[in-house]
Symmetry: C2
Subunit: 731 residues, 2 copies
């Protein structure tokens, strides 16, 4: 392979005063784009070093001078005061901000509390009448003159967010001092106009910039801090931060009804991503998207008019820009960048529809600590180990669908203190570029039938499974699985049924979560559709609490399909009659060891059908089981932990459930610490060691011929099909 | 002590043809009453042996000839056919009895199915209209001509129970052959009259009988058998078997509304004791009691008129005779007998209000196998070990409140094959008689404040906690705890608040169970009452899912009192902020070892208040925690397993929660394998070794003086207070 093919596709974060290091790394990592980071800007010398210059801009906090002059332009949010029990009769005073960070939030006393706030008696669920409470701005309190003794009260109140979330995170993590940055709300007409003007000026002031990297648009996922700067609440896919008094009023005009604060507060659960979304909240999301998208389009247009290209950083202030929502292409972005710790996060970017440049920002971020606040570029930190940890998992997804570019973020000065890290990134970058150039982004051999994940979100939140962050467990497996994966929600199922090309449906998660689906399983249309489809030959895989919703004598509504049911305390008097011995010779267990660890020791799930095959656990504490239903099949997993043994279990379960067992030994690598892929359009084959130990494996080609390989730690071995054929054992 | 005081109070089950053995045992065990058992009758020789003759009669199955002539007089029950999924369009045929024992049940085709049955679409919850289904008696089927494809259907149908439950159990367990006995329903007027006449005749035919032991009255707890005689459903406290078409019609007259079959079927959960009872089911219980009690009274009157005494066997057909319901005393029973495997079962009898003779039937029953079908009087069975296992636990309760008599049941010929067992029973009988004679049934020293168990049943089901059968775990501890124990239900709390003399309230059990209380915790009156009482100095102990009901942002409605909350998947985005180190020096832990095993390794319960003291587990997997609330205290147990270490934990928790720590070392034995009690009215003291090993212990008397004891295995050592004082170490 020619050396020239293995250059570029790499974005380097530059840093002022580090010109020599930048130059060295441009060479070492073959950098073809340089970008600034939050808190840095590029020197003229650096600007000359790379073919492409990325400049980051976060419009909502770009003009702090203006923000200071317009404190009411700050973004807003609903908070719920922490619950207070009225321990005596008489007036109850609730200090609104108690427990919350006064650095991050300031109570909004400007917009009439009586109109926008709600005081809730959480003991009855009643929202208090307007005459039943007052407030005192000076003390920051709501007063309930006649509180009912021993009732618990909370106040849903609007705040201004006076410290912008990303800059707050960076500030706290890097121990910055100095002024806090504010974030303004473009929905406010004057602010909206100002930001567009600011962007125009900024574009003019950045003649060397080729790519404008929006970091990111306007409204961020919620990160709520407490009085000691501790994180109180964090939802990577949450949708709270686009709120404002103005938005509430505009919503009423647009949707014909008024949102109550409680529609957002959600009993203090804040409509987290794992909560089953209700109609008002879904409307709120739509309403927000309907503002963000046209406004985003205006920004992108301005970038284009300035002769530059526009890139979306799909993180931080991503609300409303979801790339899997129809119409994303119309926003006109030339590229999208996402942070990437896992296969799921890789696929989140690589699967984005549209012909735009896709880039991932790898980890570790060049900060002293990682997202778990463990040392990386500091003390006993080991950035190579940290980097390999994530890269190992990511590469599985890379073989399925590649992105166009990789990059890093943070402060170069930290990275440059660790030469071994600089060396490893060079290796990693070459691995990525080899995949890109060898495969030409063509599709590898894939199973005939698709795999579908069924939850409350579907396509809108494809590969956005953060509640087992960073891996998302089952979705993380799927990110490297050799099948096309799609995401459906219950409305899709109601509207369109199950498409013909689907082999298996997965439903996973806690009972009554947005993942498992809760009350949607009470809808006859849903269970009819799934039963019909499985009975006629489909596959259904349930993990955790699939189809769970207590109704009419069942907890797993599809217990007839699954052949198992959960004991939640309603059937204790019923004998658990079916106690089959585990069938260790089942197809699914062919590679399993003696012990199966799915992360749960007990499940309270019992075998409920005489034909159910127990694969692990017992008849009353099922860990893994398989069942047939008509011509279809189902598999139940009590849990799932993402590691090689379980990946193989799930792999086999997916094949078995969809009746594709015979497809297994086709472009398949027998050692579970390895992976392989064949790209028919470009006649390239790769076998890859995902471990840091040497591995031997047997690869099966299209016809099932076995070829043995020995692989160095982390090695990727590339061959053409012809080269592979020559390795076949002679008959 | 005089030998003469240690005789009697013992009931022996006699057996035909075993006169010699009966005579021997009358001497060895000091028997003063002889009774027959199911399937035996007494010879004239045996009748002469003991002062008192007990004769058992089970009226509903006493006259089999009459039952055969009146097959429609059999008792009835609602069954729910096993769920059937309509896998195709067109008619769905449901074979009603599929899965159920046709030996035990026969479908009732006599009473119009359209009136009494219901066909339920379990996918929608809809009860089908009368025109939507038909039936065919010949095939035993219900037909739904136009079933909705992929919907699940069940039929609630009436059956006759053609094999009476107790006789069925004995028949199957003892491998009897021959005819099955039927049980008739006294609610049917002709049957009711016949049974009273039969009783009159029977009384005349039993001139030697002193005590008529009703075994028992009319309607038994449900035991449902399957096609292979396997147990499908068993609820020791269930209330299904008093059903009949006639009862349904009479209920409508009496209560002004008609019960639906679904009120009884309860989605197939059959209103098991652990299910939160609903109004119609509670009405059904009342309705049943209103028939059973007057009819029982008629029977008892006839016994008295015949110059004999009447005893209730409080088991089997006990429905409607509950001794803790007001009015039990008016039934006129002279005695009550209960089977007894545990302290709970002992207290169930010993605590019965009223001045009647209380007797327990101890275990093992003289059957080849025990209730778990393990060999006892057979093969490798060891009846002494089996007997000690239960007796050890029972004795704790015996010290708290004694009964008047003990006895055994079953077939003497089996027991007589095991001489060691005969010897051990003599020892056991002397232990019992010593307690009875020494204490004269006076009350031992007891803590100043009462302990209350709060659940949906309250007093009605005092000491009837069978869902952790046989021990009931927490109630089993309480059966030997030195406090007065009462049982309250939520209605008691609503009506009367919490009595002054209560020190601590315990709420235990699974979420949404009759024990924990479910929706009752949503009633403001309940949480107001408990919060108020704890805040002013009360103690609250929660085990498992106390006060659990998902409502208004809380799962544990009393999380403010408990200082802990459960993660059920709704607060994953919230940081669990409070991670205290376990406080190993807490009063509750003073006797605890390094490891605390409450039977659960994880709990998903987290510390939710800053002041909560963690005692075991972690801040996010709390196993044991303590909190203060105003002047009151609470303790949370994630689980409870009944063994000495945990008994001590719970003992200390009860003292701490109720502020009675200073009462601990008063008539207290330090070694957790021992117990002691002091009976002030008779000046008697006992210290008891509950283990089969020697134990040393320190006993603390009224003033807290320490006296050391060494105890042989299982030893009970009796002293007067004076004797005890002499053992005090000299100052």
């Amino acid at each position: 392979m020619k050396k020239s093919r293995l250059t570029g596709h790499f974005t380097l974060p530059a840093q002022k005063g580090m010109d020599r290091e930048v130059q060295m790394l441009c060479e070492k990592w073959s950098v073809d784009a340089i970008r600034d980071s939050d808190g840095t800007s590029l020197s003229p010398e650096i600007l000359k070093l790379a073919p492409d210059i990325y400049s980051t801009i976060c419009l909502i906090r770009a003009d702090q001078a203006w923000a200071k002059q317009h404190p009411d332009a700050c973004q807003q949010k609903f908070l719920m005061s922490f619950p207070v029990t009225a321990v005596q009769t008489g007036p109850l005073r609730i200090h609104l901000m108690k427990g919350y960070s006064s650095e991050q939030f300031r109570v909004d006393w400007i917009h009439e509390p009586g109109k926008y706030w709600d005081v809730v008696d959480r003991t009855t669920g009643d929202i208090l009448e307007s005459g039943q409470w007052t407030y005192e701005e000076q003390g920051g309190e709501v007063i309930i003159p006649v509180a009912r003794q021993w009732h618990v009260y909370t106040v849903n109140f609007l705040v201004y967010q006076i410290w912008e979330t990303t800059s707050m995170y960076n500030y706290i993590t890097n121990h910055w001092t100095g002024e806090h940055q504010m974030g303004v709300d473009p929905r406010q007409p004057e602010t909206g106009k100002h930001l567009l003007n600011y962007l125009d000026d900024w574009l003019k002031a950045h003649p060397h910039t080729d790519y404008v990297r929006f970091t990111s648009m306007f409204y961020q996922f919620p990160l709520i801090k407490g009085e000691k700067r501790e994180t109180l609440y964090l939802d990577w896919s949450g949708y709270l931060d686009a709120m404002s008094a103005l938005a509430l009023d505009q919503f009423e005009t647009g949707f014909g009804y008024r949102l109550r604060s409680e529609d957002i507060i959600d009993q203090g659960y804040y409509n987290a991503t794992y909560r089953i979304p209700k109609k008002p909240f879904l409307d709120w999301m739509t309403f927000t998207q309907e503002f963000v998208r046209p406004y985003t389009k205006k920004c992108v247009n301005r970038v284009h008019e300035a002769g530059k290209k526009a890139i979306l950083f799909f993180c931080d202030h991503w609300i409303g820009t979801e790339p899997y929502l129809d119409g994303f292409g119309k926003l006109g972005f030339d590229g999208i960048v996402g942070p990437c710790l896992s296969g799921v996060e890789w696929r989140r970017i690589s699967d984005v529809p549209g012909n735009l440049v896709k880039e991932v920002r790898l980890y570790p971020y060049f900060f002293e600590v990682n997202l778990q606040e463990e040392p990386v570029f500091r003390d006993e930190g080991d950035p190579v180990r940290e980097c390999k940890k994530w890269w190992k998992g990511i590469r599985r997804a890379m073989l399925r669908r590649c992105v166009d570019r990789i990059g890093f973020g943070g402060y170069l000065e930290l990275a440059c203190k660790y030469p071994a890290f600089l060396d490893y990134v060079a290796v990693l970058a070459d691995e990525f570029r080899t995949v890109l150039h060898r495969t030409k982004k063509t599709k590898p051999h894939t199973l005939p039938k698709k795999t579908v994940v069924l939850d409350c979100w579907g396509k809108m939140r494809s590969w956005m499974h953060n509640d087992n962050w960073p891996q998302g467990h089952v979705p993380e497996f799927l990110s490297g699985f050799n099948a096309d994966v799609e995401f459906l929600n219950f409305d899709d199922l109601r509207r369109n049924g199950i498409p013909e090309d689907i082999g298996v449906i997965i439903n996973w998660g806690n009972a009554e979560s947005a993942w498992s689906g809760g009350h949607h399983w009470r809808d006859p249309k849903i269970v009819e559709t799934v039963r019909n489809w499985v009975f006629k030959g489909g596959g259904f895989i349930g993990v955790g609490d699939p189809s769970a919703h207590e109704f009419q004598g069942r907890f797993f509504q599809l217990s007839d399909v699954l052949g198992v049911e959960k004991e939640t305390g309603n059937t204790l008097a019923w004998t658990k009659r079916f106690n089959p011995e585990p069938n260790r010779r089942h197809f699914i267990l062919a590679d399993a060891g003696d012990e199966i660890d799915l992360g749960v020791r007990t499940s309270s799930v019992y075998v409920s059908s005489p034909g159910t095959e127990l694969l692990a656990g017992s008849g009353t504490e099922v860990i893994l089981a398989a069942n047939t239903y008509g011509r279809g099949r189902s598999v139940y997993f009590a849990g799932y932990l993402h590691h090689p043994f379980n990946m193989r279990l799930l792999h086999r379960a997916l094949l078995w459930a969809s009746g594709q067992e015979k497809e297994m030994k086709r472009w398949f690598s027998s050692n579970m610490h390895t992976d392989c892929a064949f790209y028919p359009d470009v006649d390239e084959f790769v076998v890859m060691n995902n471990s840091e130990q040497e591995q031997d494996t047997t690869v099966y080609d299209q016809e099932g011929n076995a070829i043995r390989f020995s692989l160095e730690p982390m090695e990727m071995k590339w061959l053409t099909r012809t080269e592979l054929q020559q390795l076949r054992p002679k008959q």
